[in-house]
């Protein structure tokens, strides 16, 4: 069991800025954000392709959410092959930096030519790289909301889970899926 404050950045020295992510205190928050979003997007890093309970929980969540809500997925790494084998449809493979470069461009037409996104859900990026990418997004695209789905606190997101152990976090993800399923 990890006994740390939910809203401490996971790596101690990684201080947040003058604003910091709201901690996802209940699944309804994420459920409502996804339902309300007009143009949501998943960005999945390579750590999601690993074995173990964390990857399983995330893949289960993403598979369900993309199926129900038809959210496009950008895979940033070679791990897409693992995701595809588990039934997740990858819309585009694009590196994290290249993706961020487009998300901060208000003129970008998106993966489908329909325009910029309004909510980005991150998972599976290495912590420090995710921290930096989210900082770039917070400053470069201030109107874009971001949620991190990993079980560690990312201060540069708009919404983040706190630092949690696997089981309570998995239960939260399952609860969000159930809410989305209900519609």
């Amino acid at each position: 069991m990890i006994r740390v404050a939910a809203d401490d950045a996971w790596i101690r020295a990684e201080m947040g800025g003058t604003t910091r992510a709201s901690v996802i205190s209940k699944p309804e928050v994420v459920g409502a954000l996804i339902k309300r979003a007009k143009r949501p997007l998943f960005i999945l890093g390579h750590e999601i392709g690993g074995a173990g309970p964390e990857s399983e929980a995330l893949i289960e969540f993403i598979e369900g959410t993309t199926r129900i809500c038809r959210i496009p997925v950008i895979g940033t790494s070679h791990s897409v092959k693992d995701l595809i084998s588990k039934g997740i449809r990858i819309t585009k493979i694009m590196g994290g930096m290249e993706t961020l470069d487009r998300l901060r461009d208000p003129e970008w037409k998106g993966l489908d030519g329909q325009g910029q996104y309004d909510l980005v859900l991150f998972a599976g990026l290495p912590y420090s790289l995710g921290w930096v990418l989210l900082s770039g997004l917070r400053h470069g695209a201030p109107g874009l909301k971001s949620i991190t789905l990993d079980r560690v606190y990312q201060p540069n997101a708009s919404w983040s889970f706190g630092n949690m152990s696997v089981e309570p976090w998995r239960i939260q993800l399952q609860a969000i899926s159930a809410l989305l399923e209900k519609g």
């Binding site: 101690r12 897409v80 585009k92 590196g95 470069d101 487009r102 900082s135």
Partner: protein, 792 residues
């Protein structure tokens, strides 16, 4: 007399040159006046001088802006605040400006400029110390000799930037004078109330990078010439690498850092005393590389991340530190293993008493008795004597005392772990320390041992542990057998690339028939251990790229064995040719990597180098398929080295931690309007596709880095045969690593002749679906000045 100068006046202190582009006086006017006294400028060089000898940062501003219009900065702020002056702290988030008026983007570029200035100043100061020492020892007239008759272009960067052809050590002083003045100006630009434009900051970053490369070249050509290092030798000897190569029965000296004269003092003293075979002289980081260039019997322990593990192993009896990348707590670590420490550089005095003027007998006595834990000695020869004598005398006293727990002690220590995960929370690599420690506490240290390969040796975990477990030492204990059996080899740094090598491969590189030149450089801040670097280097060498390397990356490549038990340096040749893995040397030898690309323009394409930066950078950017990979880049020096490559238009890829440099330079392949060149024959604007797509990018995984590198080797000048070969490698790598085809193939095909022969059936349907733009292959340039017959 009233004199008005329209361009900056250049006056060199020692060999005086006065240059006035235009001067008006009461009695008349002068144009292009140049007076030289004892100067090297043009003495034995009939090449016509280009437009920018000794350029100021504004002289090349237009070139920088040309690059930056294609590769726009992507900012990744590390902090919302500016706290550099007493107006602040100022919150720059959300579009707010600081009290001085600066915005977030300019502030980020300003910090990048500070980093680049620190890095460049470090190399230039390194060069200055080295050069001063060499001039004191050998005299100003000591001739430069980089490779005998194999090298005519002895200093391509200095020729290009400064417009001079240095012949002896004294000539290099002028070059450093210039660099020091320029770096001071750049640093001044970061002061509050100076530069406020992000792109102008970026231009200055590139200037700092270019100066850094000049400093690198000065340092390495000086030491190669004076110390008789391998001179552009593709068959430089293989030397031993790894902690397991050290004979623990002998007195062991460890040198750490970058500036080699004190280490050479040790070698020389041991030779004079005929003790070379009785002591072990070992090194970590770039001093180690340069040590083995001087004496192949010396041993390299490993990259900078090996400092704690080697010292705690108890093997070194005396620790010598010079400058750069030396841990700030080495004195405390040395004391724990009862090893005296000798600091040898004004850059890093370590709080120790200056004993430079003392009798060696007295210094040795104090070090051996423990009267002082260490000393500062600023005389390399005296360091040599004191280090050798102290090592011999202290060895019996300290009996290789080590601070790594025994297996029994490890289990007892590990039982203290309560699983709080604080160690994991501070670990830059995020290793599962707590769970592994608890497993060790139950008697199974295997999980802890498995962390040895990915640990970067920072020791943060130990400070975080509230149970006072020496976590890093615990990992070393668990992996003790592996650590002691590290025995590898590395080819000693060869120095420059020969002119004949450039002649032979210049054509195939420029035409694209050698698919690219990939340089693995930089520090050891890896996210997954050293093996990834070796695997990437082997992949490209097997694919017949030319692989260059230096410094800690060169060591990382050596710390690998293939299925036949060969290290990459045994598996691949050391020539600058397809399929080679070419170790040029230490950090300062990176100048030879940039120099090789410049020499392609000079030797193969016969372009003038002399003070002709823009034209040559334009040539390199558009024609030489070179890419740098700094997978573990950590330092400000690495930032400066990268910036030097950016100004030459050479893309650089960094590992995930490289994102903390807080700014990328990215192209947008989805914007066709960004990708054009002029055809220098006609002046016509020609679409080229996104080649090379980025100038600076962090990759998340080695798989991303490798596919990016293969792609970034493409250039507008590629012939169809060359483009087809580059595409083959890009597509093949992508398919193997991602299990699918890349979705941007159509952007790189200019005619059907570009399609790889074996992939036609796959690619033609893609082109039919997505379309592609049929384009001629231009004689590419981004400079209007290079257009021979402008289109009406």
């Amino acid at each position: 007399m009233y004199i008005r100068t329209l361009r900056p006046m250049i006056v060199n202190r020692k060999n005086v040159t006065l240059k006035l582009s235009e001067a008006k006086t009461a009695s008349g006017s002068l144009r292009d006046l140049q007076v030289s006294v004892g100067s090297v400028r043009g003495d034995h060089w009939d090449e016509q001088e280009g437009p920018t000898p000794f350029p100021s940062h504004t002289d090349l501003r237009e070139w920088d802006r040309t690059l930056l219009s294609k590769y726009k900065p992507l900012y990744l702020p590390f902090c919302d605040l500016c706290c550099l002056c007493t107006y602040g702290k100022c919150d720059l988030s959300g579009g707010k400006k600081g009290a001085c008026g600066i915005g977030m983007e300019a502030q980020q570029s300003r910090i990048v400029l500070l980093a680049a200035c620190i890095g460049a100043a470090t190399h230039i100061s390194h060069g200055r110390h080295l050069l001063s020492h060499l001039i004191e020892t050998y005299g100003r007239r000591q001739l430069l000799d980089i490779g005998g008759s194999t090298i005519e272009t002895e200093a391509p960067i200095i020729r290009l930037v400064c417009g001079i052809k240095p012949e002896n050590l004294g000539d290099l002083e002028i070059v450093l004078d210039y660099c020091e003045r320029q770096i001071t100006e750049l640093l001044a630009a970061t002061h509050t109330g100076q530069e406020g434009d992000a792109i102008d900051f970026e231009s200055k970053v590139m200037h700092a990078g270019m100066l850094d490369h000049v400093g690198l070249e000065v340092a390495d050509i000086a030491q190669v010439s004076a110390f008789d290092f391998p001179k552009a030798d593709p068959d430089a000897p293989l030397v031993e690498l790894g902690l397991g190569t050290v004979d623990p029965t002998k007195p062991v000296i460890l040198v750490v850092g970058h500036n080699v004269p004190p280490a050479i003092g040790i070698i020389d003293y041991a030779r004079e005393q005929k003790m070379s075979s009785e002591i072990e002289i070992t090194g970590i980081c770039c001093t180690a590389i340069d040590l083995t260039r001087y004496s192949p019997e010396a041993k390299i322990i490993g990259p900078i991340s090996w400092q704690l593990r080697y010292i705690r192993s108890g093997l070194p009896d005396v620790i010598i530190v010079d400058e750069q990348c030396v841990r700030a707590d080495l004195l405390a670590e040395a004391q724990k293993v009862h090893a005296p420490m000798i600091a040898t550089s004004g850059m890093n005095c370590a709080g120790l008493p200056d004993r430079t003027r003392d009798n060696p007998d007295a210094i040795v006595a104090d070090l051996v008795s423990g009267a002082t834990p260490g000393v500062l000695i600023l005389d390399p020869e005296k360091v040599g004597e004191v280090a050798v004598r102290t090592a011999v005398e202290v060895m019996d006293r300290r009996k290789k005392f080590r601070t790594i727990p025994t297996p029994e002690e490890l289990i007892e220590l590990a039982k203290r772990c309560g699983g709080c995960q604080e160690c994991m929370r501070v670990c830059p690599v995020g290793t599962p320390l707590a769970i592994s420690m608890q497993q060790a506490g139950r008697g199974d240290p295997s999980a802890l041992a498995s962390l040895y390969d990915t640990c970067i040796g920072c020791g943060r975990c130990e400070d975080a542990c509230n149970k006072e477990i020496p976590v890093h030492s615990a990992i070393l204990s668990a992996a003790d057998e592996q650590m002691r059996s590290e025995r590898f080899s590395i080819r000693a740094g060869r120095g420059a690339i020969q002119d004949i090598e450039i002649r032979e491969v210049g054509g195939p590189i420029v035409l694209g028939e050698i698919p690219g030149v990939i340089a693995f450089v930089g520090c050891a801040n890896y996210t997954n251990g050293v093996a990834e670097v070796a695997e990437m280097a082997r992949e490209f060498a097997r694919r017949r790229y030319i692989v260059l390397t230096s410094g800690c990356s060169a060591m990382a490549i050596g710390m690998y064995r293939n299925e036949d038990g060969q290290t990459p340096y045994e598996e691949f040749h050391g020539r600058f040719d397809a399929g080679g893995i070419v170790n040029v040397g230490s950090c300062v030898s990176n100048g030879h990597i940039a120099g090789a690309t410049i020499k392609i323009a000079s030797i193969f394409a016969k372009r003038n180098l002399r003070g002709n930066y823009e034209e040559i950078a334009d040539y390199v950017h558009n024609r030489v398929g070179a890419v740098g990979i700094a997978w573990g880049a950590m330092s400000q020096k690495a930032a400066a080295i990268a910036a030097g490559f950016w100004r030459l238009g050479i893309p650089v890829i960094v590992g995930p931690h490289g994102s903390k440099y807080r700014r990328m330079l990215l192209g947008r392949k989805d914007k066709p309007e960004d990708w054009f060149v002029y055809d220098s024959r006609t002046g016509e604007k020609v679409q080229t596709g996104p080649v090379p797509e980025h100038l600076f990018i962090a990759a998340e995984t080695p798989e991303e880095a490798m596919t990016l590198a293969a792609k970034l080797c493409m250039r507008p000048n590629d012939t169809s045969r060359g483009r087809s070969m580059k595409l083959t490698n890009y597509i093949d790598l992508y398919k193997r690593l991602y299990h699918q085809l890349p979705d941007d193939i159509n952007l790189f095909i200019r005619s059907q002749a570009d399609i790889p022969m074996t992939m036609k059936e796959t690619i033609l349907p893609i082109l039919q679906e997505k379309g592609y733009s049929e384009q001629p292959i231009p004689n590419p340039t981004l400079l209007k000045s290079q257009i021979r017959r402008p289109k009406e």
